[in-house]
């Protein structure tokens, strides 16, 4: 097993290359998922504000 990880003396080049491959692709895959979640959360907040505003204008104001 240690023979495998040694990569014939080239471990310092082979494993970082594979690490870059996986880290970059993982970041590429996760970023749109986070972006989608954030956008949906913002949209929900906007919709909630809208309905609250509509609700306020529908009921007669108290202080006038």
């Amino acid at each position: 097993m240690s023979h495998f990880f040694a990569m014939g003396g080239y471990a310092a080049y082979v494993w970082p290359a594979y690490a870059v491959f996986f880290i970059v692709l993982l970041a590429d895959f996760v970023s749109p998922l986070l972006r989608r979640r954030r956008n949906l959360r913002e949209l929900r907040a906007r919709l909630a504000r809208q309905t609250a505003r509509q609700h306020r204008s529908a009921t007669p104001a108290v202080n006038s």
Partner: protein, 256 residues
């Protein structure tokens, strides 16, 4: 719309239908990509023998070459989608073109870094300004230029059109990258795998390489679908179908 375009294809261009279609298929593409990638890694790192000249350092080929192919392939997809977006003004084509750019940039970046890590032990240098390496760096800058131009405009669709122009003009670099090893004398080795004629590589090394190529293609589709879905939600945030998704997806614990 012209008569020769089938109705299902026309429908697939509609954002809500594509959103659902991509959402259903994305996990399958990702799953297949992971399976193919795992098989390719086992074949490349464990089963394939060491190279008679390069020892085990050559094993970087199993990610370097598929990434390089993807960098060029995705550029082609981006340019075609850009052309469709400019000519027919299809929103989905804009999304495909603009969301392909970051994936292509990621693969091109991987190609440059893994190539550098391969070049140090084999050539004795991290970097050299020869034709293949320089044109590959230009490819990365083209991707970054497309991404930057897209985000430089206040209006997203206007930005997409400007960036689409750059994407189409930049396609000239793709054959330059591909043929650079033949046209100029470079430190970079020539093509190992050929579509026409026999490949200059043994079968035990070739099949992990081709399997990884399939895995990266599948991954691209999965990543693109995820990105286009996120993009469509932003582009259409005022529409009813997006509002429905927003209200349906409200997490119980979260303040809706």
């Amino acid at each position: 719309m012209s008569k020769w375009i089938p109705l299902w294809l026309h429908k697939l261009g509609s954002p809500p239908i594509f959103y659902r279609f991509a959402g259903t298929l994305r996990p399958w593409f990702l799953g297949l990509a992971l399976v193919a990638g795992a098989v390719a890694l086992y074949g490349g790192l464990a089963l394939a023998p060491a190279d008679y000249q390069q020892g085990d350092a050559y094993r970087i080929i199993f990610i370097h070459v598929p990434s390089a192919w993807m960098g060029l392939f995705i550029y082609g997809v981006m340019a075609v989608a850009s052309f469709v977006a400019l000519v027919w003004r299809i929103k989905l084509a804009e999304a495909v073109a603009m969301e392909s750019a970051p994936i292509g940039a990621a693969f091109t970046f991987i190609t440059l870094v893994t190539g550098s890590l391969w070049g140090k032990p084999m050539w004795g240098t991290w970097w050299t300004w020869d034709a293949r390496l320089t044109s590959e760096l230009v490819l990365l800058f083209l991707y970054l230029g497309v991404i930057g131009l897209y985000h430089a405009f206040e209006d997203r669709r206007q930005g997409a059109r400007a960036a689409a122009f750059l994407a189409i003009i930049g396609i000239i670099n793709v054959p330059i990258v591909h043929f650079s090893v033949n046209w100029w004398n470079t430190l970079h080795q020539g093509s190992t795998v050929r579509i026409l004629g026999p490949s200059k590589i043994s079968a035990s090394m070739l099949w992990p390489l081709l399997t990884m190529m399939v895995a990266t293609k599948l991954y691209y589709v999965a990543s693109l679908f995820g990105r286009v879905r996120a993009d469509l939600l932003e582009l259409e945030s005022g529409k009813d179908w997006v509002r429905r998704i927003a209200t349906e997806n409200s997490v119980p614990g979260e303040q809706a």
